[in-house]
Amino acid sequence: MDLPHHGYRASKQRGRAAPPAGDSVLFEDTSSAAPAMNNQGYYTPGYNMGGTSNDMQGGAGVNNLFTDPMANAAMMYGSSLANQGKDMVNKEISRFMSVNKLKYFFAVDTRYVLKKLMILMFPYTHQDWEVRYHRDTPLTPRQDVNAPDLYIPTMAFITYILLAGMALGIQKRFSPEVLGLCASTALVWIIIEVLVMLLSLYLLTVHSDLSTFDLIAYSGYKYVGMIFTVLCGLLFGSDGYFVALAWSSCALMFFIVRSLKMKILPSLSSDSMGMGSSAKPQLRLYITVATAVFQPIIIYWLTSHLVR
């Protein structure tokens, strides 16, 4: 948030005559000369707002700044207030969820997104499904294609809502309330699925490292399949819809089973609990398979009304 202030300072030095005080706070005044001054303003981050004025220009522009001490004082007060507000908001949010963990899920790049989308649509040739670690912390999605991320589910969710609006518009059933209804329905189904997964993982005391965000990510991957299904249904009619539904269901089931198998089912070589765990691997397998089977059902439930 310091950049507009620097732009404002630069513009104030150049021409005191042209813009009035409150006018160009957000827009740099590039009408006069010397854009180099602008660059200098950007590269010196605003530790002391009063001191940078001397660094920016030789000596001639210093007089222009101090002609309006009230504006300076107000600007500094405003910036300090904004910083305080920002700190308070960060503190409050970090009480509920750790922002660093959330940032981990959005550290993606283009190559990862493309590879992940291909794996979601065609997972049968992917060999290695292990999530790689680096000294006990999982690698970011940029470095490991198996890591779950939240970028693809978020974008796919938004795209699905837009596509649903478009599909309903094609069938002349569109109204703005329907869009909100579709969005909240899909959101509610995600919440239900994540809660059921969390409950079943807790009841069976599966000590996996699946956090809530991981589960949200894995249950959000089905939106990619849904988008593909709806597109095929719109382009190729009812037959295309069912073919695409079958394809994306199988791909998604395979993907979910292979991804969650690593995390939920115990690796048989680690601990040797013989007696108590005879029922456990079966139940864990049931959870994985039930999650996988749930995906086509919900895909059909959420998209069938769009392609009639």
Binding site: R173, S184, V188, I192, L203, L204, T205, M273, K280
Partner: protein
């Protein structure tokens, strides 16, 4: 027409989710400890099982019920009062 009613039946809103959550938590909160749970063998004094590292499903469920009842007792009073007032006012 038929498609429209089909869509309306399945449309969830966040409000209906909140309603369902409140009803479920109320249902868990009214399970009385001595009158009901011990009678069916779900009391907390019957959950001290083996000292293995993996408690079973029933023990986990009993612990969950007990902790939900302990934690949500006071907030449920507030939430239910608010719901009653709102439903009386707005139907």
């Amino acid at each position: 027409r038929r498609l429209r009613t089909c869509w309306d039946n399945m449309a969830f809103t966040l409000y209906s989710l909140i309603q369902a959550a409140i009803l479920c938590v109320n249902a868990v909160a009214v399970l009385h400890e001595e009158r009901f749970l011990t009678k069916i063998g779900w009391g907390v004094d019957q959950s001290v099982g083996g000292f293995g590292d993996e408690p079973g499903i029933k023990v986990q469920l009993m612990n969950l019920v007990r902790s939900v009842r302990t934690v949500m007792r006071v907030p449920l009073i507030a939430v239910n009062s608010v719901c009653i007032v709102l439903l009386l006012l707005f139907g």
